[in-house]
Structure formats: structure tokens, C-alpha cells
Amino acid sequence: MERTATFEVVVSGTKGGQPMMPEDFDIKALRELLTEVEVLLFPGSSSRDRPVISYEVQPGSVRNLFRTGVQAVAQTSAVLALVASSGTIDMLEPRTARALEAMQRWAQEGDVAFALRTSLPGSPELIIDRTTHYLRTEAVSVETELYLYGRVVDAGGKERSNIHLQVEGQGIHVIDASKEFLEGLDKNILYHRMGVRAMGRQNLQTGEIEKNSLKLLELIDYDEHFEEAYLKRLQAKARGWLKDTDPDQYLNDVRGTYGS
């Protein structure tokens, strides 16, 4: 079996009353398409980390052929089958859903149609046109507040200021932070382990946090080493309400018969 396969996006439409041809496909449209295709093939990777995707355009109307590793194409084929059979993109991971939403909006606004398929045997075909509605329902994600702990690997930005937090097992979260906040920090946070309290959107179906939706609320100086002075401060804070408390009696009172 070949080690590479093809993901194909056929764009159909008319230009001047005639079927669209490759020469009618502007580079601006091509650039948008390339962005969405990259996400569909490698939703979890950045451009630097992923394998090569080669590109070829053919007539009929505009056949955009993307060749890359067979595993990525097979995964994309499975996503196409899932969406085609269910008629919804609500269950997809946010990045993949956003890519298909972008194509849906493009189809509605530009009066073009997309046919997505792969070269793999038995590949499904997903049609996106004016009559389809591959948009996420409103209730699919909710605003939530969360704590993240990890290492700051980048902070700043000329246009969009943010910090990049590398969280073990989750990758990098990009968290919007104002320039004033970053400027006012009294110590360098780069490459330090920090806690972050942030607002963001969480997918109700997958539980996944939409990584680029995060906004910084608070930066927590997070030191995972034992610190006697810090513990003493916490103990002093708690002394007022703990000094006359019998822990067993307190928990029995709070829990009642629960757990007994």
C-alpha cells in the first residue's frame, strides 16, 4: 500500500456564466482553502511539526489535490464520513469544526460548492453548498473559567498580546493578555512554571477547551516546591475558623449520613 494518499477538494461554481476553471481561482481564495485544508489534515499540529502536504490543481471545475501521509488522509476520511452520515459538525474538535464552518460560510456567501473526498478506497464524499448547514449550534460551547498550570514559553506580541502556556499533556494554550498587564509584571515569567486563571470557551460535547478563546484573568505564582513559610501563612489564615473545630465532628455534621 502506498504511504501517501490524496485529499481532494473540488470547488464548483460559475464565473461569467461559465463553469469555474483553475484560472478563475484567485490566490486569495486558494490561500483560504490551503489554511482550512491544513487544519482538516492535521488538526493537532502546527505547520512546523506536520509532514509535507504537496499541492496540485486540475480542471473540473477546480480540483485541488493535496497529497500527504496516508494516516492523516485516513483520519480526514473518517471525519468526512462522520459528518456526512450525521449531518452535523457539533461533535468535532473545535479546530476541525471551524475549518468546515469556514467552508460552509464561503459556500453561502460566494455561491460555490465544495466536494471533499479522499483517494482511499470507499472514501465518502462530503458536499458543502448553499443548501447544507455545517455550522455549530449555539449551545455547543459555553463560557467557562478555568485554571491551567504549566510553563510559559512565550509572552508578548506586537498586535495581539498574549502568553503561551505549555501544559503537560495538552500542548500550548495561547491566552490573551493585555500589553499593560504584561508590561506591569515585576518579574520575568518566561520559562517559569505558572498558574493561570482564565476565561474561555469549552466544548460541551467533547469537554475540550477552545485553545484560542482564552483570556487571562489572573497569573498565579506557582511554585510546586514545599515552602514552609507559605504553609504557615495558610495555617494562620485558617486558624480563626479551625481553632475550635473537631475535624471528625465537622465532617460528620457536613456529610450527615452520606458515606456512612
Binding site: 510546586e224 516546591h225 514545599f226 504553609l231 495558610l234 495555617q235 485558617a238 479551625l242 481553632k243 473545630t245 475535624p247 471528625d248 465537622y250 465532617l251 457536613v254 456529610r255
Partner: protein
Amino acid sequence: MSGVRTGLETITGVLLDTSFIIRLLKVDDPLHPNAKAWFKELLDRGVPMYLSTVAVAE
């Protein structure tokens, strides 16, 4: 406890009970030294500690 095989080597995380938190903060509790020693040990070994919202509410 550091340096001694305690069985913690294979543990990837622990869930803290309310009782543990109270005993960690209540210095005159008989079990405070135990809670403090475990807290220090878990930090030293880099074992993630989790606290449920139920424990926070309690």
C-alpha cells in the same frame, strides 16, 4: 521518606480529601504531622494533587 521506595513511584496523581486539608492547616491536630509529611513528600516527588469541588465546598 525521600529516597525510600514507598509505592509512590508509580502514582500519577492523588485526590485530596477534606480531612487532609483540615489536618494540614490545623497545626494542633494530632494528625497534622502526618498530613504535612505527605504534602511535602508529594510535592518533592512532583505527584500532582487534585482537589474536587466537593472538598472545596466542604
